[in-house]
Amino acid sequence: MKHVGEVKSSNYLLAKFENLVDWAVNSSRANSLWPMPFGTACCAIEFMATAASRFDFARFGMERQAFSPRQADVLICAGRLPFKLAPVIRRIYDQMPQPKWVISMGACASTGGVFDNYAMVQGIDTIVPVDVYVPGCPPRPEGLLYGILLLHKKIKGESLFDAVKRREEQPLDDRGLRLPPETIDEISEPFGNSVHQFRSS
């Protein structure tokens, strides 16, 4: 510790410049998240309840819901995602400006849920990167609020000066995938009752 002289007043604070910038940037980002709702199923009903007056996520700086990806910070996928919608959510995600985050709300968005069938994406993390997974079928509004607060916590831990703490999403690879095919197959493995299913190829 370097001696900086005698302290005569307690009305100042010493900090590293990086920490000051990170604190200012991250606090503003975390406390004014504009959500882009992507509601496809019953989770969207709970999402609406979370937005409405009783639970009211405007208390956490989400006053303005952005129904356009261009003005959104956080994509909330509420509900199951069929393969037919996969290119749509990917495009919405690509259209959102950096920095951007994704909340996967509910069992279906996170894992495919009970829909372990030919039409359903087994977890939206095979399509877009996910920051917070909210479990539940559907999650109660308190659950979603907790997920939003976890996202705040995560944002406040990011750093503009440290690439490990702030990962920018890369575009799709030349196969048109976000993850390697083996990883997608692995995280889409059947579970629960569907282990008796067979796959012909």
Partner: protein, 196 residues
């Protein structure tokens, strides 16, 4: 009714089911719609059934209702699985059959002869895994999950719309020139051959 059209008629628990020969379906349907004391003016639904017993024929089921007489009838056509899975379209009698028959085609692969626009309706048009509601179709699909994700992500969502529909959404002007070209030519990707 038309001679030779009815193969079997069942009335049970207040339900009336009439099995009609495949070749005479259109005649029978026209008779049901036009005959004054029949007047089945409303086609409620078209669907199909495949049974677990592979020997049993597939059934195409038509739910008809007469709004004036307030009665229902169910018409069934049996299709042998070894045979060609096709039946005449009733679109000329009830235009509401358009999307209903497309859905049966999409899910079962039954073709409707004379349908004005028979293409997939629920799955996308380049879907290559077959017909999902057939008993031979595995629940999780034929391709691996990675391949399904890859194909899904490589779909161009604009390809599902005509140029007119895109113009309505004021999106056509924003599209790159080559994409507009492809849409103008009506190209929607390669439509695969149905698997055997």
């Amino acid at each position: 009714m038309i001679p030779g059209a009815v193969r079997e008629a069942v009335a049970r628990d207040g339900e009336r089911i009439v099995y009609v020969a495949r070749e005479r379906l259109l005649d029978a349907m026209r008779w049901l719609q036009e005959t004054p004391e029949q007047e089945f003016d409303y086609l409620v639904d078209v669907t199909a059934v495949e049974f677990r017993d592979r020997e049993r024929p597939l059934e195409v089921v038509y739910f008809l209702r007469s709004l004036k007489r307030r009665v229902d009838v169910r018409i069934k056509v049996e299709l042998q699985p070894s045979d060609e899975l096709s039946v005449d379209s009733v679109w000329h009698l009830w235009h509401g059959a358009d999307w209903l028959e497309r859905e049966v085609f999409d899910m079962f692969g039954i073709t409707f002869k004379g349908h004005p626009d028979l293409r997939r309706i629920l799955m996308w048009e380049t879907y290559a895994e077959g017909y999902p509601l057939r008993k031979s179709f595995p629940l999780r699909g034929r391709f691996s999950r990675a391949e399904q994700v890859r194909q899904a992500l490589n779909i161009n969502p604009e390809g599902n719309y005509s140029l007119e529909e895109l113009s309505i959404a004021e999106a056509a002007g924003d599209l790159p020139e080559d994409m507009r070209d492809r849409l103008r030519r009506g190209e929607r990707g390669v439509i695969p051959e149905p698997p055997q």
